[in-house]
Amino acid sequence: MKLDGREAFSRAGEAARGRDAGRTVVRVCRGGGCRGGAAVAAAIESTAREAGTVLAVRSAGCHGCCDLGPVVTVPAAGLFLAGVKPADAPEIVTKVIGAGEVPDRLAVKDAATKKRFAREAEIPFLAGQTRIGLRNAGRIDPADLDDAIAAGTYGAAAKALTTMTPEQVIAVIEASGLRGRGGAGFSTGLKWRACREATGDDRFAVANGTVLLEIDPHAVLEGLLIAAYAVGAHEGFVFARADSARAVALVKGAIETATARGLLGERILGTDFSFTVRLALGGSEFVCGESTAVLRAIEGLVPEPRVKYPRSAERGLFGRPTVLDNSETLALVPVVVARGPEEFRKVGTAESPGTKVLNLGGRVRQGGLFEVPFGTTLRTLVFGLGGGVAGKRRFKAAMVGGPSGGILGEADLDTPLDYGPLAARGAIVGSGNVMVMDDHSCPVDVARYFTHSLAAESCGKCVPCREGLHHLAEILTRITLGEGTPADLPRLRALARVVADASLCGLGKTAPNVVLSTLDRFEAEYRAHVEDRKCPGGVCRALTKFEIDTDLCEGCQACQKVCPTGAISGAKKQPHRIDPEICTACGMCRTKCKFDAITVV
């Protein structure tokens, strides 16, 4: 039934919140990484039925820590269980729900201290976050509008549409200092104002970016609705990657259900404002993240970026004024509107208020989505929340900002994660991806790998990106194969600078970051490659020779078992030896050695 006003909306909220009265709610994560969630849910349900326990087993979206999945939560008791299997159902029903006791194996082991925690509020990597954009991550079923409404979603939109003028909304967003989370960090308020003031009869509001769509699609739609109201758009699109089946299904369902309830579509919540949203799908290519490419893709064209004269706010989709916002930005918009700009500014830095969702990965103990205030240091992220470097390895570098981000080293660990400070060090906020590398990695190989893949991602429109990235990748490949010369290093730097300076869009402008930032920080390793023909990280096979340190080797034969070429010999409890003639330097042995006995010579 359509909600025809603010009153009807608040009644719907009460009804949604009250629907599980008298029942214990159990949420089972059904996010993309939680394979097996369905079986766990079914097992808990049937066990409860047999035991006569009244439960409401509901789904939850991704918590952002897929390595702990499937995750089961008991919200009323604040409990958070990790790695749950269907066989755990009896214990969950009797002990966890019945008595509030959590078996150790289902509690979350803190990566740094090895202590176990079952209360969500005590789990360090969760408690240490400031989840604003991710406020509903794991707490609602992203496919259930009632869950969203119960959590307060669409409340800010109701407030905006019924009590604020579009100008007031824009003023609030401007005052909050909200910056676009999609990469460049442009002021959201300024962008909206430019679009509102642009000449044209009709305009569009568009959302892109996949992560939040999978976790909290209604929060994104609510933000998009507020954006549309602010700029005066009556049509909008959510642009998602066609290959992320989960996001596509969730957004499609969310648009349908929200429209059916009168939260989107004609005369929203009984007001005069109408806003129709459609789903548009795009490719998985990196360039599909470029704003002008997104708009071209929605028009059905090849997603080649265009030069931003004029800006999309003035002439965007189908030639009409358009605001395009990242889904993470849009998920924050309702918070700004509901709580006010001052409250929003209490978190983050003066230049960049609020939080940023970061995706921490690589050689770190606890990876996943981490939402932290802007200005949080890289050290806090990696060593605090992430629990430090995995295994017994040491931190060497972190790639900050995604595939076109920059590589930061140990000396940069106290860099605040924020647009300005990161840019000053040759990295970007970008996609928010942070990949940690340990001392068994090679910066030159990392530069080669990313430059090579970004070269293939170039749309081919402009010369520096299309041709320049190719030659950067070629030079780097030669270096990692041991065919580089010292003259390659200044050439790399010079070419990388021009590609960054002269490319058309963000892809080409940021792709050289990895080259420039590694040259700046790891020049000695580059030199080792081109002068000594050695790869200190032990990654570039052509330049790597492994040896077993007989003082450290315990003779456990673990390396022998994984060696694909049978190059390692030695009896049990006796020091082993690598035959350099047979060894291909694949490094498998080194990943298995617990005693750090395999060394690069």
């Binding site: 799908l281 490719g283 028009e299 090849v302 990876g367």
Partner: protein, 159 residues
């Protein structure tokens, strides 16, 4: 032994075309996606029919079909394995996994086995870094395993 060829019958083509909004150029990506799903590639005759239905030049259809990795001009395998090449997967054995799959099937990356059973490609980060290395198997994500064990499992009995 030989896989039945992918049949491009008139009924399926007209079904596909009927669902497209006539004259709506912005529906082109959706049309190509439907063709790819129905025929495991974008057949030339279907592309031409789509161009007429949506009133877009054939050159634009060809441009889009060759730009996106999701479209193919030649039939793909029944099972499309997309190895994620994102940063996390790269660091956790994706290259080894890719090598194993390709060498076991005797194809190059992006290639399809002669019997049209398997296609192996790479894809950009699918956002499931915690499961690294990740492979999308006809759109469903698998991960969290040793590269060589995964390769074996993904290819079933085939070697």
């Amino acid at each position: 032994m030989s896989e039945p060829a992918i049949v491009i019958d008139a009924k399926r083509v007209s079904d596909l075309l009927d669902r497209l909004p006539a004259g709506e150029a912005s529906a082109l990506p959706e049309a190509l996606r439907a063709a790819q799903a129905a025929f495991r590639h974008v057949p030339r005759e279907v592309a031409a029919a789509v161009a007429r239905r949506l009133s877009v030049p054939a050159s634009r259809v060809f441009g889009l079909a060759t730009f996106h990795g999701e479209f193919s001009l030649f039939p793909k395998g029944e099972v499309v394995l997309k190895v994620c090449t994102g940063a996390a997967c790269h660091g956790r054995g994706a290259p080894t996994l890719l090598d194993e799959l390709l060498s076991k099937l005797g194809i190059a990356s992006g290639g399809t086995t002669k019997d049209l059973k398997f296609t192996v490609e790479t894809t950009n980060c699918v956002g499931a870094c915690a499961m690294a290395p990740v492979v999308s198997v006809n759109g469903e994500l698998r991960g969290n395993a040793e590269p060589s064990a995964m390769a074996k499992e993904l290819l079933g009995g085939r070697s």
